[in-house]
Assembly symmetry: C2
Homo-oligomer: 505 residues x 2
């Protein structure tokens, strides 16, 4: 049987449709020829070009037609027979088997964050151009040169001892955290830490856990994914409302005491004490998300709540704001009684963080590079904050910028004449300025209809029809910040006129 | 009030016990002095050396006694008051607050794997000295030099496009996997992949999932942690028993078709087809753990089961055997209908793998370094396997080494005269040789008493009182392998004599 695209009698043999697929494979370099031929034949079977029951030419025939060795074809036939694509009858002959099926068309990728805004004020991302590439590369080089071989094996799921020691020192020095190395669990960031804690709390019978309202939508989403109902607890200008915690009968709450997200307040000393009293009374847990605790511009950052009672507070943070979110490195410190359970969850989740990355961060902190990086970011972000606040005051007279001078975002409260909010946001979007209203950070009551349209009551206590924006600035240069505020002001200025026009018509 | 260790009147003022703690802090370098003083004062409060209600000296007095500026002390007092460690009365005076509590003693670290065996034949770890340090370092340098800033941000939870494209090509070429980039999900390894799938299956109502018996204990443990009951399905010399799958009424099963762990067989073509028929009939899922699919020494590795029906098989593998487990990098390919759910779980778990590591691996594969590494490991591991098999035959006449020539371990069946197993294992341990019996890989029936003492029926079908060992060799040099087998033989040789002695007495 000759194996040209058309058989000698003019009819196309059943498998001639697969023929063209095999020719390039047959002319592949000798070392990969067998593999290429096998791949082409698999694809022909899967795609249905070679249908089940089709008899294949003998290895001698196919070898002659393709100009390859007979041994190669025999090997490929055996290989694909072993895999189930082909089957061989007793005695002689090779047929296409019926095990293979084609794949469904794969799903497409999602769009990236940010969209195509001209200026993006969405909060949460630091300036990635501040990442210390050369220091990081130098640390990698040195760590890789010195690392003992066994350190490349499966890591301790709680983190490498060297990094835990370094983090314990760093966190107790910078954040007033109680952090013996044995208490530190290395993880991939605050999201993983929250999920780990949520799973442990769920296993211990917590079905609802408090989250700040307004707050980070991530906290609620992560709790929900672990089977816990997030329960919004109002935040006032002192912190989360402890009375509401009692009323809702939860026994755990996720908080951001150093710089509440998004309102930007720091929990007061009194509220901290009340919160801990509550946790002790209900045998509960306070989760402290110290997401940007290193950045405070008017004074030293307020120490972590965890330092006051490490047996009632689980503390978590990461390098996402200080170095880069792409590193996926963070830490979690939990009360002693929870440690083993959390580590076991971490083990099940990923067996521990990458060892090389951990050694690298340890080296980086030990050399003082991390402190240098924090100082560098502090300087840059303070300047950007000042620029943003000044630009807001210039372009939006009467604006109220609230929250302590810290972190990577501010809250801007615009007087009522800039509203209504929906029109404001539409105009901002049309002008290519991405901004997020504070109302997006309200926590919907369980079962209640979505109240996105209603403006929440931010901690600063403002009128219903004001526009409250959460503006991230850390990732933008001062020039971009000024430009963004100008574009925004121009866009809503027009809105103001347009409204006046339509009203007077 | 003078603040020496003893007050002027000879009585120790209530806070003199904290005094010594403050002195070193006060002489810290100027830049960190405030932070040191705050840390020392926090520690004094937490530890109870300064008890609640104790009145602190005025900032002027303390500054004078410590030889620091008054402004510094004022700042520290304010800081610790804001944090809740101290409280200030109306008008004047600062007291120790009552919010702080000390930590419980932290739990100790666990012992590392392996213990202190002279020779460790436990399976699962590659030779970490084969890790290509210089090529890896070069790749890191280049990637870091070229990476656009936005790539350091939060990664796509399903993996960076560049790596997914590279893995799709690699896996379809080397393993016959159907792997469009859109189907590839980057994860931290097979453990995370299994957990992700288990969570998705659990959410879809699977309460029991099949695991191979004998099999990897990790599969069962990971399923159990996700709330699924692992159900042992017998493995014979063709693969997992499809009839048993039907009887147990599970609709998903975790398998190792290319090189079953631990028996070392490859699933036959017929069994592959039957398994897929079963999956189609019950609308089920086969999980394919391709943990060492790249290593086969007698012929090309058998292609992945997934290639036959990508809509019924979820495929997972990692660089743990080819590069290093410490990298925590792997992949997961799932049927199209499961992709979004798995990616969402991955997002909740860790927001995605570290971006830099992903780019690094992509670069490494693109340059051909990964293929080079695989060839290097192949050569080394084949030599070690040959050494082990030869040494076993020399030292344990009558031994049966089973399983195809592949992977990083063999099964050695020792004739009955080397038994009973418990004594054999005790002697091996006493001689400092770590070995694992095949019985350790039996899956306990749910609710059944632990049958560790009973010898399982391995796929090779052997007598009850034989000793079957799972011997990992990849991480040992040929010399160590030969030495280990010699020590083991000597140790149990003695056992043989001892038994004869005690019997004849």
């Amino acid at each position: 049987m000759a194996l040209t695209a058309h058989g000698p009698d003019g009819a196309r043999p059943p498998w001639s449709a697969a023929w063209e697929l095999l020719l390039p494979a047959a002319s592949a370099p000798a070392r990969s020829r067998g593999r290429s031929l096998a791949a082409a034949l698999r694809e022909a079977v899967r795609s249905g070009r070679l249908t089940a029951g089709t008899r294949l030419p003998s290895s001698r025939e196919l070898a002659a037609d393709l100009g390859v060795s007979r041994g190669l074809v025999t090997e490929v036939y055996e290989q694909l027979t072993a895999e189930g694509y082909l089957r061989s009858g007793r005695g002689s002959g090779t047929w296409v088997g019926d095990a293979a099926r084609a794949a469904a068309p794969a799903v497409r990728d999602r769009a990236p964050r940010g969209g195509h805004a001209r200026v993006d004020f969405l909060p949460g991302v630091p300036d990635l151009s501040l990442f210390p590439r050369s220091a990081w590369a130098a640390a990698h080089r040195q760590v890789l040169a010195e690392l003992p071989h066994p350190m490349l094996g499966y890591p301790d799921p709680r983190g490498l001892p060297r990094l835990r020691t370094v983090l314990a020192e760093l966190l107790s020095r910078r954040r007033g955290v109680v952090a013996e190395p044995e208490r530190v669990i290395v993880c991939s960031g605050v999201a993983q830490a929250t999920t780990l804690l949520a799973l442990v709390l769920r296993a211990r019978g917590h079905t609802a856990v408090g989250v700040e309202d307004p707050g980070s939508p991530e906290h609620g989403a992560l709790l929900a994914a672990a089977g816990i109902t997030p329960t919004g607890i109002p935040v006032d200008d002192q912190g989360v409302d402890v009375g509401a915690l009692r009323e809702r009968r939860v026994r755990a709450v996720v908080t951001t005491p150093a710089h509440q997200f998004p309102t930007g307040i720091a929990y007061s000393a009194r509220r901290r004490a009340e919160l801990l009293d509550w946790a002790r009374a209900v045998d509960g847990l306070v989760v402290e998300d110290d997401y940007d605790g290193d950045f405070r511009y008017d004074r030293a950052p307020v120490g972590a709540l965890q330092g006051l009672d490490p047996e009632r507070v689980a503390y978590t943070g990461s390098v996402s704001k200080s170095l880069a979110p792409g590193l996926r490195l963070g830490w979690l410190l939990v009360p002693d009684g929870l440690t083993e359970e959390v580590v076991e969850r971490k083990r099940v989740m990923d067996l521990g963080n990458p060892a090389l990355d951990q050694e690298l961060l340890a080296h980086f902190v030990e050399r003082g590079d991390y402190d240098r990086q924090l100082r560098r970011c502090q300087r840059a972000y303070r300047e950007r904050r000042d620029t943003l606040v000044a630009a807001l005051h210039e372009r939006f007279p009467g604006v109220r910028v609230s929250g302590i001078a810290a972190g990577l975002h501010v809250i801007a409260g615009l007087p009522a004449r800039w509203g209504p909010q929906a029109t404001f946001l539409a105009r901002a979007a049309a002008a290519g300025v991405a901004v997020r209203p504070l109302t997006d950070h309200r926590v919907p009551a369980p079962g209640a209809p979505d109240d996105t349209g209603r403006c929440g009551a931010p901690a600063t206590g403002s009128a219903e029809d004001e526009v409250h924006l959460v503006l991230g600035y850390a990732h933008l240069s001062p020039a971009r910040i000024a430009e963004g505020v100008r574009i925004l002001a121009d866009a809503v200025q027009e809105l103001d006129h347009a409204r006046v026009d339509s009203t007077s018509r």
